[in-house]
């Protein structure tokens, strides 16, 4: 179906815009990649190839250049490359590593991540310009990454935990302190649950954990609320995607609408203290930021995303991600890097065209994957294209555009 493509590259394809652009990516011993050095050309990159060839792994590698567990929410110990019998065993004890060089403004910066070779820690390490960054916030301030994956097609019919992770990531891109509040609330909740399970805990100690839980949970909820409000205000009226209305379902958020944060903290702390017996019986903490749910509805029809078709859900989600990218661009002064894994699947023709039009005008960088390059035909001339097979990249001559560069 190469007939879809114009025979020559379109001249005057959009030039590099402000904001961090991935210029070089090196991947070693990660997932199905033994050793890859890739220099993406330009803002839009289409990577096509059969399933299982490593398209998602490539995007996942980029997603791990920000704090968190990446676009698969994978555990660090599962990221190392599995030895391939046809290529001989991987060197024992070899750590995986991903390194990206980004250009931003007049300068550039490097972010790298990997598992340490020494020590038993399963935690991956992130480096900024070759050194340990002073904080995760510092890293988050340099690079914002948003992603859409096929797993998210079921986000609104799946578990509340998946929705919370998705929304918390959106919040965290704009409110870097949010990650700390979420981690603090989770740590306090886990500790309280343990003490309650053991029974006979010191009330002063339990009270201390509940005070911490309340402080972090209220901070996290307030951040979720403010970002959802800003997101609603930032959604363009003329978007070809259905406007999404996100609602936070959580008793803490309800109280925050009418009471100051300190009063809500007191209420939460007291509620937790009086629910100790009940929570001990249930084996879980019944109140907190970890119990919130978010619903997504089409703002125009009011129809809940969970009731919509997969294609409609995907259009809602894409609209939300593009609105969020616009908000991040406006607030941070730099567009986030978009990782869109199989974005065209389930989308109808008009939404596909709208997506590609939005990407052509997008001031930041986007890496897109798909099984068939034909789906991305409207980006010909604007995107560079690569074919991927078994952890190796090659330029895709059938897809005219900026010359892709690669090294193996």
């Amino acid at each position: 179906m190469t007939a879809h493509f114009p025979s020559r590259p379109v001249p005057g394809a959009p030039e590099v815009a402000a904001g961090p652009l991935l210029r070089r990516l090196s991947i070693r011993q990660f997932r199905n990649y033994a050793d890859l050095l890739w220099e993406p050309a330009g803002r839009l990159v289409v990577i096509s190839g059969a399933n299982g060839t490593g398209k998602t792994n490539l995007l996942e590698a980029v997603s791990l250049l920000t704090p968190g567990r990446g676009l698969r929410a994978a555990r660090t110990e599962t990221l190392a490359r599995t030895p391939d019998p046809t290529q001989g065993p991987a060197p024992p004890g070899t750590a995986w590593a991903v390194a990206g060089r980004f250009s931003a403004g007049d300068g550039s910066f490097d972010i790298a991540t990997g598992a340490p070779t020494e020590g038993v820690s399963a935690r991956r390490i992130l480096w900024l310009d070759g050194a340990k960054p002073p904080s995760q916030t510092e890293l988050a301030a340099r690079l914002a990454v948003l992603w859409l994956t096929p797993q998210m097609d079921r986000l609104f019919s799946g578990s509340p935990g998946g929705r919370r992770r998705f929304f918390d990531r959106l919040v965290w891109t704009l409110e870097p302190a949010h990650a700390r509040a979420i981690a603090g609330a989770e740590a306090a909740t886990a500790r309280r649950n343990r003490l309650l399970a053991e029974g006979g805990a010191d009330p002063g100690w339990l009270g201390g954990l509940e005070a911490e839980l309340a402080r972090h949970a209220v901070a996290a909820t307030a951040a979720r609320q403010t970002v959802l409000q800003r997101l609603a205000a930032a959604t363009p009226a003329n978007s070809p995607f259905p406007a999404a209305r996100v609602t936070l379902r959580c008793p803490i958020a309800e109280r925050l609408r009418s009471a100051p944060a300190l009063a809500v903290e007191d209420w939460l702390r007291e509620s937790l203290a009086s629910a100790r017996r009940e929570d001990a019986r249930a084996g879980a903490t019944g109140l907190g930021a970890h119990r919130a749910d978010m619903t997504l509805a089409d703002a125009e029809t009011g129809r809940g995303a969970e009731l919509s078709s997969t294609g409609q859900q995907k259009a809602l989600l894409l609209g939300l991600i593009l609105a969020h990218a616009a908000l991040v661009t406006a607030e941070r002064g730099a567009p986030p890097l978009l990782l869109l894994d199989e974005p065209a699947v389930h989308l109808d023709r008009s939404h596909r065209d709208a997506l590609f039009a939005a990407l052509r005008g997008y001031p930041g960088q986007a890496l897109l994957t798909g099984v068939e390059r034909e789906a991305f035909a409207p980006l010909a001339g604007a995107a560079s294209a690569l074919r991927i097979a078994a952890g190796a990249l090659a330029p895709d001559p059938a897809f005219p555009g900026p010359e892709p560069r690669w090294r193996l």
């Binding site: 886990a190 500790r191 309280r192 010191d202 002063g204 100690w205 954990l209 005070a211 911490e212």
Partner: protein, 197 residues
């Protein structure tokens, strides 16, 4: 490489904070290359410190005197006690030179996840000192982590019957940071801007 004696030396050095297997190997090699100079002096210093240094019976600091130099110093303000997690935090605060009172080393933080319990912490000597009278304020200088904050809360609960003021370090101490890694300026600011707990 080098026989069991060398391996044992490297294994012991590698257990020290800041030394991984690689730097432990380098340190061991440096010692072995100058046994008369470096090694004898180090062995003698270790032995002398082992004999002389003990925890202070009043505050838990490590010193060759008991009570320690801080507890024995009449110029220190005995009405202000600063509670720290460890001797290393005590030494960090001393380095910053802003606390003119005395200390109490708690010996750890409460943690339900495989950590310490109230009975594991050094609380009784602190309560005894406060019961003696003369203490007006207790500054809780624990890490700004969930366990640090919960331990501080628990401690202030235990101190309530004594009627002493309980304060904590101001925020500005990075969350999750241990006092020991803070620079002196940050510590001084956090201590000056303390608030009621």
């Amino acid at each position: 490489m080098g026989g069991p004696e060398v391996e044992a030396l490297i294994a012991l050095l590698a257990k020290l904070p800041g030394l991984g297997p690689r730097s432990a190997r380098r340190a061991a090699l440096r010692l072995l290359q100058d046994p008369e100079g470096r090694m004898v002096a180090l062995a003698a210093a270790l032995e002398a410190a082992r004999r002389a240094v003990h925890p202070c019976s009043r505050c838990g600091n490590l010193d060759s005197r008991d009570p320690c130099a801080i507890c024995a110093d009449p110029a220190r303000d005995g009405s202000v006690l600063c509670v720290v997690e460890s001797v290393s935090d005590l030494w960090a605060l001393e380095r910053s030179g802003v606390h003119r009172g005395r200390y109490h080393v708690l010996g750890g933080l409460l943690s339900p996840l495989g950590g310490l319990r109230p009975e594991d912490l050094s609380l009784a000597p602190l309560l005894a000192r406060i019961a003696e009278g003369g203490v007006a304020e207790v500054i809780v200088a624990l890490a700004a982590t969930v366990d640090g904050a919960a331990t501080g809360h628990w401690l202030s609960d235990r101190l309530r019957p004594f009627g002493v003021a309980v304060t904590r370090l101001a925020h500005g101490v990075p969350v999750g940071g241990s006092l020991e890694i803070l620079d002196d300026g940050t510590l001084a600011t956090a201590l000056r801007a303390r608030r009621p707990l």
